[in-house]
């Protein structure tokens, strides 16, 4: 595993929060995913060893909790809320429009590797629907014009990034 020193430090710290090491499994998965972008089989084995578990004990978490990913996604992650209050105010159209903007299907990655659009369950901001999370940030009352503006922002940020 090739994790950043800061991540390794956070991992060692978070394990001390619990009297039983296994409790740190979810925090470690979050930290590894934030660092590496996804959870590889190697990462699961590494976490298992770190916590004195079998790899299956970590694998079963990755397959159970929707936020953990077993493959890489785009650099930017757009999550549109699918659940009732957002759907009533236009969530399905918002999701469709984001997919058209970046030419990708739910869960897939856009051709330039920049964006993944997911249609997720309730984001707990039902009063300001439709809501969308882009990476860690929540955007409220997203209509067609706002989808366009957010998509343009994402493209601008991408074009400003040096080519790999």
């Amino acid at each position: 595993m090739n994790l950043k020193p800061a991540t390794l430090q956070q991992i060692d710290e978070v394990i001390t929060h619990y009297p039983v090491k296994r409790s740190a499994a979810l925090p470690l998965l979050h930290l590894v995913q934030e660092d590496a972008g996804w959870i590889s089989p190697e990462a699961m084995e590494w976490i298992a060893q770190k916590l004195g578990l079998q790899p299956i004990n970590v694998y079963e978490l990755v397959t159970f909790y929707p936020m953990f990913r077993q493959k890489p996604i785009g650099r930017r992650h757009i999550k549109v809320c699918r659940t009732l209050s957002c759907a009533l105010t236009g969530g399905y159209k918002v999701c469709e429009q984001f997919q058209r903007e970046f030419g990708c299907h739910t869960g897939g990655v856009s051709a330039d590797g920049e964006v993944t659009v997911d249609f997720v369950e309730c984001l707990a901001s039902c009063g300001t629907g439709p809501v969308v999370m882009i990476d860690d940030d929540l955007h409220e009352k997203v209509d067609a014009a706002k989808v366009k503006a957010l998509s343009d922002q994402i493209r601008t940020a991408a074009s400003g990034r040096p080519a790999p």
Binding site: H17, P19, V20, R22, S23, A24, A25, L26, P27, L29, H30, L51, N57, E60, L61, F64, Y65, P66, M67, F68, K79, R82, T83, L84, S85, A87, L88, T89, G90, G91, Y92, K93, V120, E121, C122, L123, A124, S125, C126, G127, T128, G129, M133, D136, D137, L138
Partner: protein, 452 residues
């Protein structure tokens, strides 16, 4: 009758210009003074205040908080844990998000008072994974409180020590169920535990006595410790004490969060006066009053029966608009106050499509442990989705009911009820719409807002 004024107890500073979520601001507004006073009292006295207050849990079930605390096994010699349930996931509910983002120290103070009352040395805040900023805000707030000796070792020289850590979930609704949450906090899949024997008060986290309370509930504890249990009962109505935060979403002019004395406002006042009524040119069709699993109410229907007012039994004959928004009244008419999430639908909504949306949620969120729930929620989703996107048949209504009726009471946790109540109540209230859907579909224009 016009709606009463809001009574902002928990939301006193929510959306207040200039109020920030740091410790300095909280202290300027008298923060942690209640905790300091509470630490000078006997823990049993504080538990008595909460019992006297009649405080009912704000997460969904409305179980009396004082009773929950009384059930804790204090003789086992094992440590007692307290877990703050900040997994706010019931569709329609968005109150805890406001508290965490805008007034985190109120939650920490309420938590510390509750920990002190119950001799808890270690608390965890289990926050849903989809609130990364919320988790960071809480971590920063706890660090500030720790640096000011308000959390941690020998708090303010009281000889009492208690630590709080933030624990992030990862997108699973079932972690809001308290035993599922405990499994998740132990680093496992969030499979709820069977009760008996695994009552958290006796065999909770690491098989130790554990208290799991909702964010809003713990904030109320702070105010109860402040004003006393007796004074708190003067807010709200008997057996439904205190204030309630209502989160209104869907088809109203002014959706949002509003705090009122429990039972002092009717559903009609809330939706029409407070939230501005239906959108222009529309009328209300249905409302779910307590999170998406609560049974739906149909505008135009009437609820009749007898209820207790003081010592007397009196008749009631209510329309949807007349129902007081408290635990008991909503329970009496066959639904529930649940988590306070009020989802409103107007006459543009087709109920088959709305149910298909809800069913897709519950099917996605079933933990998969019990067959009736795993399979039942999946088939209810498949049937309603097929009705919308494929062929709908007249007999689908009976088929759906047949599936839904086989789930509740046959599962380890209340998710079985939560996933079947929508289907059961939609069919009971809008049965014709389901039976006629196959005909209606042939001529209907596509919906402006697809729901599935």
């Amino acid at each position: 009758m016009p709606a009463p004024q809001q009574r902002r107890l928990i939301f006193a500073h929510i959306d207040e210009p200039g109020y920030s979520n740091d410790l300095a601001c909280y202290l300027r507004h008298g923060g942690y003074a209640v905790m300091k006073q509470a630490f000078a009292r006997k823990p049993e006295e504080l538990i008595d205040e909460v019992k006297k207050s009649g405080l009912r849990g704000r997460g969904g079930a409305g179980f009396p908080c004082g009773v929950k605390w009384t059930l804790v096994d204090r003789k086992s010699g094992k440590p007692i844990y307290l877990i703050v349930n900040a997994d706010e996931s019931e569709p329609g509910t968005f109150k805890d998000r406001c508290i965490i983002h805008q007034d985190p120290h109120q939650l920490i103070e309420g938590t510390m008072i509750s920990c002190f009352a119950n001799n808890v040395k270690q608390a965890y805040i289990y926050i849903r994974g989809e609130m990364p900023h919320g988790a960071r805000i809480l971590e920063k707030a706890i660090a500030e409180a720790r640096a000011a000796n308000l959390v941690g070792q020998n708090i303010l020289g009281s000889n009492y020590s208690c630590e709080i850590y933030v624990h992030r979930g990862a997108g699973a609704y079932i972690c809001g169920e308290e035993t599922g949450l405990i499994e998740s906090l132990e680093g496992k899949r969030a499979h709820p535990r069977i009760k008996p024997p695994y009552f958290p008060a006796v065999l909770g986290l690491y098989q130790c006595p554990t208290i799991v309370n909702n964010v809003e509930t713990l904030c109320h504890v702070k105010h109860i410790a402040d004003m006393g249990g007796e004074a708190y009962t003067k807010i709200g109505t008997p057996n439904n004490t205190g204030t309630r935060i209502f989160c209104v979403s869907g088809h109203v002019q002014r959706p949002g969060h509003y705090e009122f004395e429990c039972g002092r406002i009717t559903l009609g006042q809330l939706l029409n006066d407070v939230c501005g009524g239906p959108r222009p040119g529309r009328t209300f069709k249905a409302v779910i009053p307590g999170g998406s699993s609560a049974k739906i109410m149909r505008f135009g229907e009437r609820y009749k029966g007898k209820r207790k007012v003081g010592a007397e039994m009196v008749d009631y004959d209510w329309g949807v608009e007349d129902v007081p928004m408290d635990f008991d009244s909503l329970g009496m008419i066959g639904t529930m106050g649940g988590s306070g999430g009020v989802i409103v639908m107007d006459d543009s909504v087709n109920m088959v499509e709305a149910l298909a949306n809800i069913n897709a949620f519950y099917s996605h969120e079933s933990c998969g442990q019990c067959t009736p729930c795993r399979e039942g929620s999946l088939w209810m989703k498949k049937i309603t989705t097929r009705m919308v996107h494929g062929d709908a048949r007249e007999q689908d209504a009976a088929l759906l009911k047949g599936v839904a009726d086989q789930i509740p009471g046959r599962t380890i946790c209340a998710f079985g009820e939560a996933c079947s109540w929508p289907t059961q109540s939609f069919l009971a209230k809008f049965g014709d719409e389901f039976k006629n859907y196959h005909e209606m579909k042939k001529t209907a224009a596509p919906s402006a807002a697809p729901l599935i």
